[in-house]
């Protein structure tokens, strides 16, 4: 992302030290990476949040991750706290990839707030786009049955073991079949973005549920 400034001491070490071995430099770099986000005005312009909301969001974010970035393991831990009965790590992995738009392995405040802006304040089109992006694991523009199955299994994993009715092996697969029956209009085995958006816009339930989280912040 443009404008990221990484504070590292390694530059100063380079200037001062004569012959520090490489491993020490690497260690120093790792331990002092800190990330400062862009200015408040820029973020205000790029997202649909007000200044106050950005302040609140950043305070919470920085409190949880003092270094300013979230790596995948921390992310999984945080997400797992909301689903104590099941295993949320797979779904958290997919979520992480969906939020980490520049794919650098860590989630900065900009990624975080961009994603939230789409999800909470975006148009229905944008939200559906985001959901499509989440399901499309390899980001090739098509949702295949395998990708959907992975996502479905991840969602069902979050339910855990103690459910009613008892979760069976083939439940995710059957759910995927239902999904494809609904979405895949030309029956070519993959769902494209247009099929997806079309179908969702025609479905009342989905349209309604897209709006329930609008007052989250």
């Amino acid at each position: 992302m443009d404008g990221k400034r990484l504070d590292t001491i390694s530059e100063r070490v380079d200037a001062a030290a004569v012959s520090a071995p490489d491993s020490i430099e690497d260690e120093l770099e790792l331990s002092t990476v800190r990330h400062r986000p862009e200015g408040l005005e820029q973020l205000e312009a790029q997202t649909r949040f007000s200044r106050k909301e950005l302040q609140i969001l950043y305070r919470g974010f920085k409190n949880e991750c003092p270094s300013g970035v979230v790596n995948e393991d921390t992310f999984k831990e945080i997400y797992a706290q909301f689903f104590p009965q099941g295993d949320a790590s797979t779904y958290a992995h997919f979520l992480f990839n969906a939020f980490d738009t520049d794919h650098n392995g860590s989630l900065s405040f900009e990624d975080f707030v961009m994603g939230l802006s789409i999800l909470l304040r975006g148009t229905v089109q944008e939200k559906l786009n985001w959901a499509f992006n989440l399901y499309d694991i390899n980001k090739d523009g098509y949702i295949t049955k395998e990708e959907m199955l992975d996502i479905m299994k991840a969602i069902y994993d979050m339910m855990g073991k103690c459910t009613y009715p008892v979760l069976k092996e083939e439940t995710p697969r059957q759910h995927v079949e239902v999904f494809f029956q609904k979405m895949d209009k030309n029956k070519d085995g993959v769902v494209t973005i247009d099929e997806f958006i079309d179908c969702c816009q025609n479905d009342e339930n989905i349209m309604r549920s897209m709006h329930i989280f609008e007052n989250v912040l």
């Binding site: 609140i56 969001l57 305070r59 919470g60 409190n63 949880e64 945080i78 997400y79 706290q81 909301f82 689903f83 104590p84 009965q85 979520l95 975080f112 994603g115 939230l116 999800l119 909470l120 939200k127 559906l128 985001w130 959901a131 989440l134 399901y135 996502i151 479905m152 969602i155 069902y156 979050m158 339910m159 073991k161 103690c162 459910t163 009613y164 009715p165 008892v166 979760l167 069976k168 083939e170 439940t171 059957q174 759910h175 079949e177 239902v178 999904f179 029956q181 979405m183 997806f196 009342e204 339930n205 989905i206 309604r208 549920s209 897209m210 329930i212 989280f213 007052n215 989250v216 912040l217």
Partner: protein, 619 residues
């Protein structure tokens, strides 16, 4: 709500949009944030020192004093602040807990003062972070011991209704409980001393008399010594038998070290009695007398320090083992070297390698008797190396043993370590319970939400007020999130107990024709307005006597399918009609016929989505 992730809840809820296209049912409504308070700074005045923080920071932990409405009791209207008449230094740690999610224990604080503050502010001490928890527990344990010591001084009153056996055992274990016990204690101590001194004096040569040559006193005054010995053994036997009688667990007593020492101390006497002056075995008999020296170990009951020494040696077994092992290695090496070095010299005392062991040991421990000395130059060189290395090898493990001893001497409690293990387990258990409380809270709130709805519908005011539960906004938002997940997957969370019951029933029923879960059929025709499904309609569940009101939407796919839960037990009233808002539901108490008779019923219906134990009722 789990600790410290309140900041991420909006994120988790937003991410739930990813489930929406996948779900087939509509989602429940989100709880409204009615308070709509702007995030404001709160002023906390603790004994004059002012702290400020955001309101949302405090709201993270709604079950503590500062996070709940309990702090309103401390609100000072004129100054518009919350005033607490407590210690400001400890308050720092407590406020930091809200800020960072980690509770630290400041080392310079008194443990009981800190505990009191934690209790006042409603924070459980188990949340203390790992960095400070050891210290906290150690201090707490010391404090507890101090209290116990104080109490023990008052505890020496006679407890009523103790049997003779118990009194005796108590007297044996704590000599200062009664005068009798004290007398007994000193008498046995005296006789142990007598016995040891007798054994020693027995061997001293007593001086020549006209008709006896110089012989040890034992042989001169045989009768006297024999009487003394008998008396001592008599006392020891009586003591042993009394202890055996009084012991709460005889088997355990007999296995204990002290009792073995007692037995070993008195056995030689009896064996000697049994064996007469038979010449053959008298040699063995004499050897047995050596064991009389073990009587000196009986002193360990009288001396705490001796017991600690014994315990130290036992606990340093690994260091001692290492010492022994390294010494053995060095001895063998140097003995071999010395033997081969001295082989050349004539009249060398180093006749074999085992013979050289003696030289090596004496040299390495820097004794240097001088009965064996190397004569060759090579021998002398290696001999000096040997003595130098001996100093090193012995000096290394000894400080470890010494420090061990001093540590144990100061701590002085082995039982406390065992207690600490248990405490660790209970700590983990308590944290686990607090965390799983969030899972159970969701299930519990579902019950309450359901009941609330029912009572709204039936409209009895008092019942409604009884049941309205005070969940915080955070909790209700979290529960809404979990509810959305349930809707997406069309499965419900149940607790473990219920889950196992369900599994058992499924195993028992094992119908071949049992249809798979409804969600997989695709014709998800059941939509609930926030109500919970009754787990098994056939079997009435005792604890879950609640009404499930089904709001049935006419499904656009299969209009003929109206499913109704059967066998409902109303909590408030029996058999009344309930009008769901805008719904077409009649709840009735229907006892299901046995499943086989449902089979034809099921075949008759065209839909695939009916589980065999549901029957259709049209409203």
């Amino acid at each position: 709500m789990a600790t410290g992730t309140a900041a991420w809840l909006p994120f988790a809820r937003a991410a739930a949009i990813g489930w929406m296209p996948v779900a087939s049912c509509p989602m429940p409504l989100a709880p409204r944030d009615n308070s709509k308070k702007k995030d404001e700074l709160i002023m906390l005045n603790v004994s004059g020192r002012r702290f400020q923080t955001w309101r949302t920071t405090l709201d993270r932990y709604p079950d503590t004093l500062l996070g709940s409405s309990e702090k309103d009791f401390f609100y000072n209207e004129e100054a518009k602040e919350y005033f607490f008449d407590r210690d400001p230094d400890v308050f720092r740690s407590i406020l930091n807990f809200y800020r960072t999610g980690k509770l630290h224990y400041p080392r310079q604080e008194c443990i009981s003062a800190y505990d009191e503050e934690l209790t006042f502010f409603g924070i459980i001490p188990e949340i203390i972070g790992d960095c400070c928890y050891e210290e906290y527990k150690d201090r707490k344990r010391e404090n507890l011991e101090r209290l116990q010591d104080d109490q023990e001084d008052n505890k020496d009153m006679k407890l009523p209704n103790m049997t003779i056996r118990e009194t005796m055992w108590r007297a044996f274990e704590n000599p200062h409980t009664s005068t009798m016990a004290l007398v007994f204690y000193y008498v046995t101590g005296f006789f142990i001393a007598i016995s040891v001194i007798t054994n020693v004096v027995e061997t001293v040569p007593c001086g020549a008399t006209p008709h006896h040559k110089n012989m040890p006193c034992g042989e001169r005054y045989t009768v006297a010594f024999f009487c003394m010995d008998t008396a001592c053994v008599m006392i020891f036997t009586v003591e042993y038998l009394l202890r055996l009688f009084a012991a709460p667990s005889r088997y355990r007593f007999m296995r204990s070290v002290m009792s073995i020492i007692d037995v070993v101390a008195i056995l030689p006497y009896y064996i000697g009695l049994v064996m007469s002056n038979n010449e053959d075995v008298s040699g063995a008999f004499v050897t047995l007398r050596v064991f009389r020296v073990f009587r000196i170990f009986k002193f360990s009951r009288h001396s705490q320090g001796l017991r600690i020494l014994g315990y130290t040696l036992k606990s340093c077994a690994s260091e001692l083992g290492f010492l022994l092992f390294s010494l053995t290695m060095a001895i063998i090496i140097f003995a071999t070297v010395m033997f081969y070095a001295e082989k050349g010299s004539s009249s060398s005392k180093f006749t074999s390698i085992p013979a050289s062991f003696w030289y090596t040991i004496v040299t390495m421990t820097t004794l240097g008797y001088g009965d064996m000395v190397p004569k060759t130059i090579a021998g002398k060189i290696f001999g000096s190396i040997c003595s130098l290395s001996g100093v090193l090898v012995i000096a290394l493990p000894v400080p470890v043993i010494v420090s061990n001893f001093s540590r144990i001497y100061h701590q002085n409690q082995r039982a406390d370590k065992r207690r600490a293990q248990k405490v660790q387990k209970t700590r983990q258990a308590r944290i686990r319970i607090a965390k799983s409380g969030s899972a159970n809270a969701f299930l519990a709130s579902k019950h309450h939400g359901l009941l609330n709805e029912l009572l709204e519908l039936t409209g009895t005011e008092e019942d409604e007020q009884k049941l309205i539960r005070n969940t915080s906004l955070l909790e209700s938002q979290h529960h809404h999130l979990l509810h959305c997940l349930e809707k997406t997957t069309a499965h419900e969370f149940v607790d473990e107990h219920m889950f196992e019951q369900n599994c058992l029933e499924e195993a028992l029923q094992s119908y071949p024709s049992r249809s798979p879960s409804v969600s997989s059929q695709g014709s998800c025709t059941i939509c609930c307005c926030g109500s919970r499904r009754h787990p098994d309609p056939r079997v009435p569940r005792g604890p879950l006597q609640e009404l499930s009101a089904l709001h049935i939407q006419s499904n656009h796919r299969q209009p003929a399918n109206l499913h109704l839960r059967s066998n409902l037990n109303l909590r408030a009233e029996d058999g009344s009609r309930v009008n769901c808002k805008g719904g077409q539901v009649t709840t009735a108490i229907i006892s299901l016929p046995s499943p086989p008779s449902l089979a034809p019923h099921r075949e008759a219906s065209p839909s695939k989505g009916i589980a065999p134990n549901w029957c259709e009722v049209r409203s």
